[in-house]
Symmetry: C2
């Protein structure tokens, strides 16, 4: 994973003149756009997470069926639609590769969530008790492994070595990002580039792969595959930046996770780096104690929130996110204007506006 | 996974008249047979577990380089040799698919070991501190994920959807076996069939896949692929039965793990089932307290060992293992007699004789 100092684009392209509707509307429009495909994808997910070993569908149902936005499979479905899959040719209308591969993407995502919660010792996920809190760490590790293997079985059934290459590379990159995050934990000398490498790996790589797959199965040229990969990569980075901001800014009901989790775990995210780097010596002493030494007491989270406010750390993080969202939108310029492109472009605004 | 009441064969075949040399000699002969390939495989393992994220090669080196018998990659290499890969045709002599796929098999195995040790909270692995004891559970989960993803990247490079199908199915079956083991933990009503399903999944499925891959890349007909899969499956079951016996019978120096681990974890293995089912009511009360309630005190492991001795539980387990080893040997009958077949057949004796 190379350094990543600025938003990535497939090529230098002008920002397309697409009216921004933004916000929740974009997600609603995205769901409406691929509604039938999404329902088919949900059916595929339920059908393919089955196993004669009862604990597997039980645990998988807890996390898969618990919902979440299905953002990653939505991206696969919408990218396929943008690329004309299933094509105009009525003979190809029965194609369901996008549906099955969207399910694969969700399985890989779910596997990483299960392992993340074990790693983070999280008690909450999407506002509900996390799987590890109910079923134990052991089952969460093993069912994560099952879903990961099942994702590859689905890809083998699909039969495209190109798709298998994209998603196996993404899976390796996700693990690298997570390990790098572990290495930078409690370390305030982490650079912004290293932080961006972490979130590019742990989050954005799968967004990029989810989008790229849509272009591949539609048989689109490399230029469009790369454009969709760049769209997903920039979108994913924006999304994770906002997630990291929300960990210090959201109320629990909205976010569906405990505010301050990252703080308690000593995760070095951009809000912390921004507040630390802009802080005076007294503030740095505080951050070193709380994040590097992990010595936290009553009122420390409140102080952290106050310092972030005073140093504009959340605003700085959201401004970075906005930059990546703009780059995501720009990457779509290689496609002709139309309703699908407009909705995908607006999703990049949603990634940021959900924090406002 | 269906029930498994008796040894599996690809078809009903007579036991080939192969002289049994057995024991460590067989493993030594196996290593000697494919020595150059094994060295190439070790080089591939080291080269492909690399990552710019330093903790990954560090942790991977701890477990991969720590040795172990490399039994699974040896099976891939020897199976390929048995099937004439690289073929007699000089033009195909440069083929290294068996080496790369043997490395894949070892990566999948290593990933499951890392996750097993987290699940079991083991402190020892092959006589050394386990990776989770040194690097922590978090890193073990994530590096396991990385090695698993990397295995699939290697398979994609190899380019065979058939191989990808075999190994992705094996990976899902391994996870199912491990989850089933978790479900049967502390449960003395587990049947022998359920126990065999567990070890078929968690251990034998990868042995079977490792062998089958050798026939696939050599382009051998389905009958030979199935024979090698049956050889590996039966060998793997025999191997795990012996492993479960050794957990109550070996001395720590030989086994490289702590004797009594399974007992302390309340794992319901065949030695326990055999002693429990043959025991009188007082003995059953003991087993229920120790295994089902997990209430263990000083002297309980010694009592368990004594009861197993008295009830012939270890001997019964090894007799079952011998049955599967015989079936493994029998599965090779579809191949012509020769030194490679003889060595592989003798490996099935090694699987059992290492306990004597």
């Amino acid at each position: 994973m190379g350094g990543l100092a600025s938003p990535r684009t497939a090529e230098t392209v002008p920002v397309p003149a697409i009216a921004a509707h933004g916000g929740e509307d974009a997600l609603t429009a995205l769901v409406a756009l691929v509604q039938d495909d999404l329902q088919a994808c949900n059916r595929a997910i339920v059908a393919r997470m089955d196993s004669p070993v009862a604990l597997i569908p039980q645990l998988a149902a807890h996390i898969v069926a618990a919902g979440g936005k299905r953002l990653r499979p939505l991206l696969t479905l919408a990218s396929a639609r943008l690329c004309g899959y299933p094509g105009e040719d009525p003979g190809s209308l029965g194609g369901l590769r996008h549906v099955d591969l969207a399910a694969c993407v969700e399985f890989i995502h779910t596997a990483t969530l299960l392992h993340d919660d074990v790693v983070d010792e999280s008690q909450l996920r999407r506002g509900l008790a996390s799987a590890n809190a109910i079923f134990g760490n052991k089952a969460s590790v093993l069912v994560g492994d099952f879903l990961f293997a099942r994702a590859f079985q689905l890809m083998v059934e699909d039969g495209s070595l190109v798709v298998l290459g994209i998603l196996s590379r993404a899976a390796a990159t996700i693990a690298e990002g997570e390990v790098l995050q572990l290495q930078t934990q409690n370390d305030l000398s982490t650079t912004e580039d290293q932080y961006l490498e972490v979130i590019q790996g742990k989050t954005a790589a799968l967004f990029a792969a989810a989008c790229e797959v849509g272009a591949v199965i539609a048989g689109r040229p490399a230029r469009e595959q790369e454009a969709l990969a760049a769209f997903g990569m920039n979108l994913g980075i924006a999304f994770q930046l906002v997630d990291d901001a929300l960990d210090y800014a959201a109320n629990q009901a909205t976010l569906g996770k405990t505010v301050g989790d990252d703080f308690r775990e000593g995760k070095v995210t951009l809000p912390v780096l921004a507040a630390y780097q802009a802080g005076d010596e007294a503030e740095r002493v505080f951050w070193r104690r709380a994040i590097e030494e992990g010595s936290q007491g009553d009122g420390d989270l409140e102080r952290a929130l106050h310092l972030m406010e005073a140093r504009g750390a959340i605003e700085a993080t959201l401004a970075r996110a906005h930059g990546f969202a703009v780059a995501a939108r720009a990457a779509l310029a290689v496609f002709e204007d139309g309703p699908v492109r407009r909705i995908l472009a607006d999703v990049s605004d949603f990634a940021v506006s959900r924090a406002r």
